[in-house]
């Protein structure tokens, strides 16, 4: 009996060495361990043996069974590993450098910069206001203290419509309505498209974007104005900008200022961009003229406020190095599709 067991082991090992596919291994498993397999048959034959023999032979047969099981498992694992390796070795390695599609759409750069500004200002408690582009003479001029014979009202600067309305020349046209809407205190920004009746060239457009802001409360001062402008511009340019104010005249403010920032190209050392002055003129601002407050229903004896006007279009050109302003309204996707991110 013992010889039969050893013989079976020997023949199994011989056959196993020849079983190199998972099917062959399975066949072998059935032949030895299946319901009618050689090892199973041996175990079945034990029932005729004596109790002593049963114990001894049972141990031998079970040992054989365990060995067969282990070896089969081992063999099948080896075959699977080899098959996996063959599959891997045979696989195509994809060329990741091939050109691929997946172009996203694009935002107009004005949208990108406008959103950035809106975020900064809403975080400082400003509301964001929208306002029409076609306005009345009252909104655009009279309500913001532009006198009747001011040159800005001349035909060569303003687009007039046949019904007497006009295309707003500055975002200030919204000031009166916003002051009336909120009264004091009030913090608002109002981005918008403005129009000037002029011939276009690389640096002049008749249609461009501005963003104006006002802040009105008790005791708003020039000192506050400088603080806010510096804080806001440092956010916009993502660096600590230096600002300086110069006197400037705009009918809607008194005192009025031109605000310069230190040149971003040369850092203030002087270069061709800043005409070697180290400073770049960026935005007009000032303390809201008492007449403008009054017309907006705010008592100038009780309240003061500041206003500023940022050239959104100009900011975009500075930020992205756009040299020809006309590209922005051209609808030319070769230019515009580049602005994918916010």
């Amino acid at each position: 009996m013992k010889e039969t067991i050893d013989g079976l082991r020997e023949s199994f090992e011989q056959e196993l060495s020849k079983a190199v596919s998972s099917e062959a291994v399975e066949k072998l498993r059935v032949a030895y361990l299946g319901k009618k397999g050689s090892v199973t048959e041996l175990l079945k034959g034990l029932k005729n043996a004596s109790a002593d023999q049963k114990k001894e032979l049972g141990q031998h047969i079970n040992q054989l069974k365990k060995q067969v099981e282990e070896k089969l498992l081992h063999q099948i694992e080896a075959i699977q590993a080899a098959e996996e390796q063959r599959a891997i070795d045979g696989a195509e390695q994809y060329d990741v450098t091939l050109p691929a599609g997946g172009d996203p759409g694009s935002y107009h750069p004005i949208t990108i910069v406008q959103r950035q500004l809106e975020e900064i200002f809403t975080s400082m408690g400003f509301t964001v206001e929208d306002y029409p582009e076609i306005v009345t003479d009252y909104e655009c001029f009279e309500a913001v203290n532009v006198p009747k014979d001011h040159p800005a009202r001349d035909m060569q600067d303003t687009y007039y419509l046949e019904n007497g309305q006009l295309l707003k020349t500055q975002t200030s046209a919204a000031q009166n309505a916003i002051l009336r809407k909120y009264g004091a205190p009030c913090r608002s920004i109002f981005p918008g498209r403005c129009f000037r009746n002029e011939a276009t060239d690389a640096s002049h457009e008749n249609t461009f974007f501005q963003m104006e802001g006002i802040m009105v409360d008790k005791d708003i001062s020039i000192s506050n104005l400088i603080y806010f402008m510096k804080t806001m511009l440092s956010e916009v340019f993502e660096r600590d900008v230096k600002v300086r104010l110069r006197p400037g005249f705009f009918p809607f403010v008194e005192p009025g200022f031109e605000l310069d920032i230190n040149c971003l190209i040369c850092g203030g050392e002087g270069c061709s961009t800043c005409h070697h002055s180290g400073w770049v003129e960026l935005c007009p601002c000032g303390m809201i003229h008492p007449n403008v407050l009054k017309m907006g229903g705010v008592d100038p004896e009780k309240y003061t406020g500041f206003a500023f006007g940022l050239g959104l279009t100009r900011l975009v050109m500075m930020k992205y190095g756009v040299k020809d302003i006309r590209d922005l309204n051209s609808g030319n996707l070769k230019a515009l599709s580049q602005f994918r991110h916010e």
Binding site: G105, I134, Q165, P185, N197, I222, G248, G331
Partner: protein, 787 residues
């Protein structure tokens, strides 16, 4: 405007100060300086040299061989100037010296060595005259440096005229000098003038200001026996440095005075103009100004006349006929003040902007006219002591500006500035600028000087500017406000705009563009779009751009057409404004619209049309959780497809439209591409209520899908079949479109009916009765199951 620091120094002593730093300070406190130029710094070893002898060059008709006494020695010089002659004293650059930035070394000219160079005024940089050598007076000290004889060295800076718009007082050197005095704390010297009271017994000039609306003041004086014709060199240098051109003594003096005081003056030849009327003419006529141009003067233009004959356009330019010429020996001097807006408008109409009109436009101080004549006489008599005044100073003063007096508290200043500025500093500043200023118990009383009172300083806030600009904004301590902060919500309009942009860019790869609010007639025509009637601009740059656009369609179609080479398939959108005609109150009906336009050479028009529908519906679902409904509609514009135009609706409102294009228009854009477009009213969209969200427990059990392939009878739409399954039980959760095609002229749809239950796994048997019910209803409507 160009400012000479030498000239400024006539009125304020700036010695010992750093001029560049001072000019920088001027930028920060007064007006923007655009450029600073150092004049006469490119001269070296240029002396008064005497030409001792002149010999003809043997081989040249033009050249001469000179011996020039340079003070230190005699120089051999080859010279080609036409006015060279023995005994003449000229500016002479010694060998090794420099002129116009160029070093003069020994050079051989036509075979002869030249050891220096005799100069013209142009070469010295003090005038444009290069007709010959500058001739120096006979008593000039030989060998003395030319820059010590004449004020050639100077610092000149250019102020941005725009930044002087509101400062009529800064249009002359004296006003600028006042600023420097205030900025440095130094004293401003008074202008030296001649008192004209002595001539009060003489006859007045007949000055008749007929137009008292536009002429505020007219002051005149007659002078005769003018014997000199050429202005002194230093005066000519200043004029040249400040952008003027020397002409003759009288013309130069009026220019000089204007540059000094900012008061334009006109000198008429007394022989031609001996009386003055100021008036407008009832009808347009031709008038030749002294630049020799014949101009049409209309009835709105104020004129200076003499004996009824026009002699000058008031405040702008004199007439050719009454011009002062070199031999004029008597003159009638005009020093006047005119309405600023009238001068500006006349100058625009005539297309003639002069130094005078530029100043009058700024609303000059009428108080200046008399001192200006006193100053003119001082300058004239300094040059030509023989000149005689032959009339009384005649002054017609029509309009006086009111005196402006302002009072305010220290607390007002503190509130506006946000910093502490001492009372004494406030008083010093205001007084140095010519304001009358007093303070008692923190209450200020300020009298505005006449030169600031014409429009510039009228209210308290104007005084704040005077105090703070001289204090210097650089010196301000900056601080945040003490105002309370409130959280701010974005408006529905702003949110909707931004959400729409995000969906279109990020989910549908569209490109955002910007365009113009007017229609482009030329482009529209090239696309075969009929011109639209709408509100017009009355002053468009071109007639092609004068009609406001009614919709976003034509604009975006043109964008597609121009970008055909960009890609085989792309889409653009813009949120912009249109004008939908006039409202009953006569104002424009301006609306904010979203326009979308898609282009494809890959997809069929039908595919593109349905892609557009998907996009539009995604906007409704994404932004407002609203289901947009579409309905076929007739074309509102000629370029829309008459059969494939639809209106977009939600919550009972019409929001916009989408459409394919009329075939001929589509062809004009691109024969090989499909094009569709849509428009949504963003104001309406923003106001739509949010559809809200009712959370549904997800079913834990698998559902079952039944697909039905249907053959539709002619004209049947999906919407017509919906009644077959609506209300057929809770387990039918969704009906979606799997496939759609036309076979043998019959429309075929495959619909998927999705069933599920929250209680159990549904079996096919359980849903079959519902399906059978649907099929039965469909059959009644003529819809058959496809085999």
């Amino acid at each position: 405007m160009l400012i000479s620091m030498n000239w400024i120094s006539d009125f304020v002593d700036l010695s010992g100060l750093d001029l560049p730093a001072l000019i920088q300070r001027f930028t920060l406190s007064t007006a923007e300086v655009e450029e600073v130029m150092e004049m006469g710094r490119d001269l070296r070893d240029v002396v008064a040299g005497k030409i001792l002898s002149v010999e003809n060059h043997p081989d040249s008709k033009k050249l001469h061989l000179l011996k020039v006494d340079g003070g230190d020695k005699i120089y051999d010089v080859v010279c080609g100037a036409p006015n060279v002659r023995e005994g003449l004293i000229v500016p002479f650059v010694k060998e090794g010296g420099m002129v116009a930035g160029q070093e003069i070394s020994c050079a051989k000219i036509a075979g002869y060595e030249s050891h220096g160079m005799c100069c013209s005024e142009h070469e010295l940089g003090i005038s444009a005259d290069h007709s010959g050598l500058m001739e120096l007076p006979e008593d000039s000290p030989i060998g003395k440096d030319i820059t010590e004889i004449y004020a050639i060295k100077d610092t000149v800076f250019e102020v941005d005229n725009k930044s002087l718009t509101n400062r009529p007082d800064l249009w002359g050197h004296y006003g600028i000098a006042r600023e420097f005095a205030a900025l440095t704390g130094r004293e401003l010297r008074p202008l030296e003038t001649v008192s004209l009271e002595a001539f009060d017994q003489l006859d007045p000039i007949a000055i008749d200001v007929q137009d008292q609306e536009l002429c505020f003041r007219y002051t005149g004086l007659k002078v005769r026996n003018i014997t000199k014709n050429v202005s002194p060199v230093n005066m000519r240098i200043r004029l040249f440095y400040c952008g003027s051109r020397a002409i003759n003594l009288l013309a130069d003096l009026t220019n000089y005075l204007m540059l000094e005081m900012g008061q334009p003056m006109h000198a008429f030849d007394c022989a031609k103009v001996d009386r003055i009327e100021v008036k407008r003419f009832p009808e347009a006529f031709s008038f030749t100004t002294l630049d020799g141009v014949e101009r049409k003067v209309d009835e709105n233009t104020l004129m200076i006349c003499s004996g009824g004959k026009p002699v000058a356009v008031a405040g702008i330019m004199g007439g050719l006929d009454s011009e002062i010429e070199g031999d004029t020996d008597s003159l009638l001097l005009e020093s006047a003040n005119f309405d600023a807006a009238s001068v500006r408008k006349s100058s625009t109409r005539l297309g003639l902007r002069t130094d005078a009109s530029m100043r009058y436009e700024k609303t000059l101080d009428p108080e200046m006219t008399v001192p200006a004549i006193g100053r003119f006489m001082k300058l004239l008599l300094d040059v030509d002591p023989e000149a005689q005044v032959i009339s009384r100073l005649t002054d017609v003063y029509v309009k006086h500006y009111p005196e402006v007096e302002l009072t305010f508290d220290k607390a007002y200043v503190d509130r506006y500035t946000g910093i502490e500025i001492e009372n004494s500093r406030i008083l010093d500043t205001l007084r140095s600028l010519g304001f009358g200023a007093d303070c008692s118990a923190d209450r200020f009383t300020v009298k505005v000087p006449s030169w600031r009172a014409t429009k510039d300083v009228t209210i308290k806030a104007d005084i704040i500017e005077e105090i703070t600009r001289v204090y210097g904004y650089d010196n301000f301590a900056v601080s945040t406000t003490l105002s309370p902060l409130y959280p701010q919500k974005k408006s529905p309009q702003n949110k909707t705009d931004n959400f729409v942009k995000d969906i279109l860019v990020q989910s549908y790869q569209l490109h955002e563009v910007h365009s113009y609010i007017w229609a482009d007639a030329k482009k529209a025509k090239s696309l075969g779009l009929e011109p639209e009637e709408n509100v017009r601009l009355i002053n468009a740059q071109t007639p092609d751009h004068e009609v406001l656009r009614r919709s976003m369609g034509p604009t975006l179609l043109a964008v597609l057409q121009e970008n055909r080479s960009f890609a085989a398939e792309f889409g653009v959108f813009e949120i912009g404004r249109v004008c939908e005609g006039l409202l009953p109150d006569g104002l424009c009906s301006e609306r904010k619209k979203l326009g979308i336009a898609l282009y494809s050479r890959v997809k069929t028009e039908k595919e593109l049309y349905f892609q557009l529908i998907e996009m539009v519906k995604a906007l409704g679902r994404g932004v407002k959780r609203q289901e947009f409904q579409l309905a076929n509609a007739s074309a509102a514009y000629g370029w829309q497809h008459p059969r494939n135009t639809a209106v977009i609706m939600a919550a009972g409102r019409t929001l916009g439209w989408l459409c394919a294009l009329k075939p001929s228009v589509a062809k004009n854009i691109d024969k090989k591409a499909a094009v569709v477009c849509a428009q949504l009213d963003m104001d309406e969209f923003a106001l739509l209520p949010d559809g809200g969200l009712t959370y549904q427990e997800p079913s834990r059990f698998p559902g079952i899908d039944i697909d039905l392939s249907l053959l539709l009878p002619e004209g049947m739409r999906f919407a017509d079949m919906e009644s077959a399954w609506v209300g057929m039980g809770d387990s039918l959760k969704d009906v979606s479109l799997i496939d759609s095609f036309i076979q043998n002229g019959q429309k075929s749809l495959t619909l998927r009916f999705a069933f599920s239950s929250n209680e159990k796994t549904l079996s096919k048997e359980e849903v079959q009765p519902v399906v059978d019910g649907v099929v039965e209803k469909l059959a009644k409507a003529g819809v058959a199951l496809r085999g």
